[in-house]
Symmetry: C2
Subunit: 189 residues, 2 copies
């Protein structure tokens, strides 16, 4: 889909700088989409060229000048056109490097896979723990942008992350069991 639609969507809330947008990505979208600052700046430029955004410089003292982007009527139209299109191809939604390692797991030294699976579980647990922080941020943004009607939807995306992480943990534990059953030696890690 490209980052550009997400940027248009966020700018439909209110004008923002690239830096602002990066904050929002890091704090409340990261569990289903991420973006480098460099990519955000580039795509903002592209969107402006297309006429979907306008920008103005806001001088500041003691800080670098801000470049504040606003969405245009055309930009809103383009965003809504995209929004109603159900993802047609779904290309490859999943592209999971860890699963590639599992797939070739028989070539790993004994115990290594268990080690990686345990690490994976730990990471997923941390991910789940981090979601309560996202919950708070959502609350904060809803208030700050006076967008309480959005909270429901934002929470639904978070809920997805939770269910997926939980499922991942169950899966990894199942893997450990199966490997044990199959007699693959355990690591001491």
């Amino acid at each position: 889909m490209s980052l550009q639609h997400a940027l248009l969507g966020l700018l439909s809330y209110r004008p923002m700088t690239g830096y602002d947008l990066k904050q929002i990505f890091e704090k409340s979208i990261n569990h289903f989409w991420s973006a480098q600052l460099s990519q955000i700046y580039r795509d903002l430029g592209n969107l402006e060229t297309k006429g979907y955004l306008t920008s103005r410089i806001e001088p500041q003292e003691g800080r670098p000048d801000k470049k504040v982007y606003s969405i245009t009527a055309e930009g809103e139209k383009a965003f809504h056109n995209w929004l109603v299109k159900f993802p047609q191809a779904l290309t490859c939604a999943v592209r999971d490097e860890f699963l590639v390692r599992i797939f070739f797991g028989s070539q790993l030294p004994p115990g290594e896979l268990e080690f990686q699976l345990k690490k994976f579980i730990k990471e997923k647990q941390e991910e789940i723990e981090s979601y309560s922080a996202v919950e708070k941020i959502i609350e904060h943004y809803a208030r700050e942008m006076s967008r309480s009607e959005e909270k429901l939807f934002w929470r639904l995306t978070l809920r997805r992350g939770y269910i997926m992480a939980e499922g991942s943990i169950r899966w990894a534990e199942e893997c450990l069991e199966q490997l044990k059953k199959a007699g693959v030696p355990e690591s001491n890690a």
Copy 2:
């Protein structure tokens, strides 16, 4: 990680053509990694340049010539080096276009989101159904390549797809419920 590691891994089983590799991707890796033929051919070329693969032309009658790639000792080394590295950054494993639509769901016309969620559920159900075919293919490849010791690992990747698809359906049903509760009007689709 790039496709290249997966290609090296598959070629560690036996020499194959780009076309062969594409078949395997489509039939038994697609649920966690996909690749266009054009990308496969390009990356095979890159791997050969690096000295990780060698190729030889195998002439055929009535069919185009085959270009069969084999992994070198260096290629195997590179692959194993990669294999033992736990995905360090996890960059953004998830990049889910559908969740972006949910996030901006309040801007969708009434009923549209329900429509998309129901479509999503249907697709995930079809995905689950397709997994029994993958199960059979795994069985087939394990026999054909005399790699029965791999079956366990291949099935584990499939199991992940199953658990994730199942979780997705539960999530989408929860979404429908929540939207109903919140009084968002339903579609007739």
